[in-house]
Symmetry: C2
Subunit: 339 residues, 2 copies
DNA sequence: CTGAAAGCGCTAACAC
DNA sequence: GTGTTAGCGCTTTCAG
């Protein structure tokens, strides 16, 4: 287990360290015989280059950072998985850090990663991040950063997002097509772009189909809990009898609304259709099973890494990098909570 | 953003690199005046030591590896979160890798981590890992490894586990105490210790309360799906009418059994009590809400890191390391699916 | 109190 | 073809 170094190989073979190094890397200027000898010995000794030394020398660590708002979260966990998967294929390892939706943490985590000499960072903005200096400074200085999921239009870099607006549009359209006449929306907190986009998609669909937009049936979830959804259900049941469809910005809230309505003996989907968003595990456990929109987390993680990887390569090759934004399609998953 | 090095500070101050290095680390043999000067400049230049260089020099990377069977999994995600959290407090970063329950991957991931010079590794065994050479060799060579959750008794190192046996005992006991006369068990695949322990706990409780152990009502889940649970429900409903309680080794399966039984109009919990295991998010969404056992994933992650950290410290200080196994209590969470 | 020097392990330009 | 040398940035004896 004692680490084998080039030096040891060189010594036992009576060669110089440099030659050994070059032999191992198949440089043309090493004789085939020496190459063979060196490789054989390296193999038998199970030589592994010291990554730290290599990194120090090459100024690259083959490690990237991943800043994620919440780890214990189906969608984000899928992203982590996708990133790690894609990274592994290119010989990169990933350091995962959690911002807990806090701007302060986010900033600190990024610094930690920089201190560790990661080659690039993948970031999903914390909900309360409003200042983007910590990112734009980095990007301007030429450091590879890719934003995923929760992005900001004011940060100039590559991004990968789900087309929330379109997805929300389609979800609402589906409700309309299936006969809903009065569709309520439960939106998330004001800040994240995703929430805004889902709201816009909802509004656009109403407009497109000449349905009146009624502010009084747009509810804002104060937190991400089942109970909160149930409170909203109560509000709908008591004050908005005309509602026959609900599009909620996330599955848990949708589930809360559904179970809340069921307590009042409202029949789902016969009386009210419910549409969620995210396609979490819970959607197939509810009764009826929740119709929702699938967010391709794994794909997103993969794509985000690929963008970052390309940027790292380009930067290394001094090629002009151009930022691009990739939109991943989110597909409707129709189950039983919609007509 | 251009990286500041000791050299630059030394040059602008007309000092030697060595002195600057020492000043920054508060060595006693540097005059207070120089210290002050150096620190002031370092501060204003926002000097950050180069981690790679430090690591190479000090032979420690302040990074640990975490090998996890599945990332997209509530319990494991909590563990990741706990590990990262605890690690951060000690200035450690964590590289996450997924074994996907494959022995081959597990082995490879560990090698990758070693190549990256991590200071220690946290491992939860893949279900199909049967050979522990890759671990025991490492451990014998003095490399810090801590096993968590899915462990093996044949690997000699520190471990942190949930007392599955006791938890299962308590779960079964609860069913008995609440009046169940014939309790079925749905167990997991034969391999992982957790599955075995839960089964043993179930058996022990039966014995303790003088209830007959009946092999015909112990079912083995072939996979971790809702459908599989439902198939078992069918089997119970059709061939084991006397069953009035089910203890399943995991929540999803329990939910499957519950919804499966409900399809036959079996009243839960009046006719049959259902007890799950894990306390996933889904438990509070089912109807009735699932009684279960809470597995403290976050705590486990924290504890696992702490054990590893201590071992790293001890190894560095050449202190004799002694392995210990920490058992975390899992608590019963009684909801509505049990009487 | 300060600095020169060696070295962690590896790479690459340059000489031989 | 092979080896020498310098150096990535830092730490730590050991001289001065």
């Amino acid at each position: 287990m004692a680490k084998i170094t080039l030096k040891q190989i060189a010594e036992t073979l009576g060669l110089s360290i440099a030659t050994v190094s070059k032999a191992l890397k198949d440089y043309d200027d090493v004789s085939p015989t020496t190459k063979a000898k060196v490789k054989a010995l390296a193999e038998s000794l199970n030589y592994k280059p010291n990554f730290l030394a290599q990194s120090l020398r090459n100024q690259e660590s083959k490690t990237i950072g991943l800043v994620i708002p919440e780890i214990v979260h189906h969608f984000f966990a899928s992203i982590i998985s996708g990133v790690i998967n894609a990274a592994k294929k290119k010989g990169y390892l990933v350091i995962v850090l959690q911002s807990s939706e806090s701007y302060e943490f986010e900033k600190k985590q990024i610094e930690l990663l920089l201190d560790k000499n990661v080659d690039g960072i993948l970031v999903s903005l914390a909900d309360n991040t409003v200042n983007y200096k910590h990112l734009s400074n980095l990007i301007e200085s030429g450091f590879p950063i890719v934003l995923y999921d929760k992005i900001s239009k004011s940060v100039h870099c590559s991004k990968v997002v789900i087309n929330d607006q379109k997805a929300a549009f389609n979800a609402t359209k589906y409700l309309i097509d299936s006969g809903c006449k009065k569709i309520a929306h439960v939106r998330g907190p004001l800040k994240p772009q995703t929430t805004i986009d889902r709201f816009i998609g909802y509004k656009n669909a109403l407009k497109e189909y000449d349905m009146e937009f009624d502010k009084s049936i747009v509810f804002e979830a104060s937190n991400l809990s089942l109970e909160n959804g149930q409170d909203i259900a109560k509000e709908i049941y008591e004050n908005h009898k005309e509602v026959d469809g609900v599009f909620a910005f996330t599955d848990l809230t949708a589930t809360g609304v559904m179970t809340g309505l069921q307590k009042f003996n409202v029949k789902i989907p016969d009386e009210i259709s419910i549409m969620g968003f995210s396609n979490w595990l819970i959607t197939s456990i509810t009764s009826p099973k929740l119709s929702t929109i699938d967010q391709p987390g794994f794909e997103m993680g993969k794509k985000a890494f690929k963008l970052l990887y390309k940027e790292i390569q380009n930067r290394k090759a001094k090629v002009e990098v151009e930022f691009k934004t990739v939109e991943l399609p989110a597909v409707l998953v129709i189950r039983e909570s919609t007509r």
